[in-house]
Assembly symmetry: C2
Homo-oligomer: 230 residues x 2
DNA sequence: GAAAACTAGGTACACCGTACCCGGTTGTCC
DNA sequence: GGACAACCGGGTACGGTGTACCTAGTTTTC
């Protein structure tokens, strides 16, 4: 955790920040699976094992990456006073950050950042619902439910996109490949609502941002209704 | 996709179902990372490469596992008429299934099942909100938001448990190891709400099931309020 | 100048998914 | 009954992975 110059020994050839930056560049462009210690070493022009002078292992690299991205949607240090707007903005900015870094959602779904920026985000999210007359347990549950929705929604969203990217196909080619299986499902007649989805979906809530916000607003409605003030 | 006896050739020594069962046994007991083609082959007493007669690759094995677990929380084929109770039950049973299979949440967070049981679950979830005067797009958004909450919540929940399991430590040992970092965070004074969490959390909503249900009920409240009938 | 504390990084090990291939078994058809 | 297609089991091999361990060089302190 200390990128600073130690007392003795030669000057380090690079820094944890440079390593993190290289890892982000690779993962953003080629996906999380493109990250390997050998690859990262090649990227910054060092020997593979030298990386272990800066991080304790690959997991540590991932932690650094997550914490770096967490900084991108850090809420302002002082809440606006409108808890709903603040929570909504945090959710939307979190999603946008995960869209900029398509590998992010898969990681944060199962492991939230315990680095400085992760903790800061958590603290500021709690501060958004502070002063509403809630116990810390309820505050935690409310913030947690919004995080759960955002992480769950975006993980599903990006999971599909990343799976598509891995195939190397475009959307048309992919749909053409799925067509026979889809046909079988529809022809069986056992899935009338799924058939309706295929036939008539997309008239409303066609914009992905709008779809995300729709569910988010339902959740925020429910939270608002449970608040002491009404 | 065809475990049936083919026309020619020797009788297969095992079946996709047996392979799936072995994979579930290993993953449930030792985690998803314990699943390897060599390990599975050893488990069912076959050569490694023979598995490829039954599945196209490791991803296919995972798909089979997910679809098998999906059968565990398949909603009844006819909704009760109480959409809220049905959606709530689906969420709770989905979570319970993911608790029985700790590896499941990590997988479904980014890749929903497109196998028979996955499609059936999807169809029946939609049928729960059918007949309420909603367009298929809104139905999709509502079901999707509940899925997002459940997947997001349980993925975070299980992610923590699985991370703990991987260390091999028990809760006390793990907390003792984190203590110095925690101390630093608290001593800095920059995280007063986080400090409150550490100090006073657990008085309300101490039961994990209750915590999960609390957020879920907020979401369902918000959905109820948006329904045409009120 | 010696020693301590750090640095870079090569080698090696155990494991992974799976492409490719060979040889054996079974059913069908002439 | 013989030929052959179609399938099965599975060994070998390749190009990857994370990282433990070790050697050797460099800088600072005493």
């Amino acid at each position: 955790m200390r990128p600073e110059r130690p007392a003795r020994g030669p000057r380090p050839a690079f820094s944890r920040a440079q390593l993190t930056e290289a890892a982000l560049r690779v993962a953003d462009a080629e996906g999380l699976d493109a990250i390997s210690m050998r690859r990262l070493a090649a990227e910054i022009g060092s020997g593979t094992m030298s990386l272990y002078r800066y991080v304790s292992g690959k997991d540590d690299v991932i932690d650094l990456m997550v914490d770096a991205v967490s900084a991108e949607f850090l809420p302002p240090d002082v809440p606006s006073g409108d808890w709903r707007a603040d929570l909504r903005a945090l959710a939307i900015q979190g999603r946008q950050a995960m869209h900029r870094h398509p590998w992010m959602a898969r990681v944060t779904a199962t492991r939230q950042s315990s680095g400085p920026n992760g903790v800061r985000t958590f603290e500021r999210a709690l501060s958004v619902v502070d002063g509403l007359g809630l116990s810390i347990d309820v505050m935690l549950a409310l913030v947690g439910s919004v995080f759960a929705y955002v992480n769950g929604y975006v993980a599903a969203e990006m999971g599909e996109l990343e799976a598509l990217r891995r195939t190397g196909l475009d959307v048309q080619q992919w749909m053409a490949r799925q067509a026979p299986y889809l046909e079988t499902l529809l022809k069986s007649g056992d899935h009338p609502l799924f058939a309706r989805v295929v036939a008539e979906s997309g008239r409303e809530l066609a914009d992905p941002d709008e779809r995300f916000a729709y569910g988010l607003d339902r959740l925020l409605d429910g939270i608002a209704a449970a608040l002491p003030g009404g």
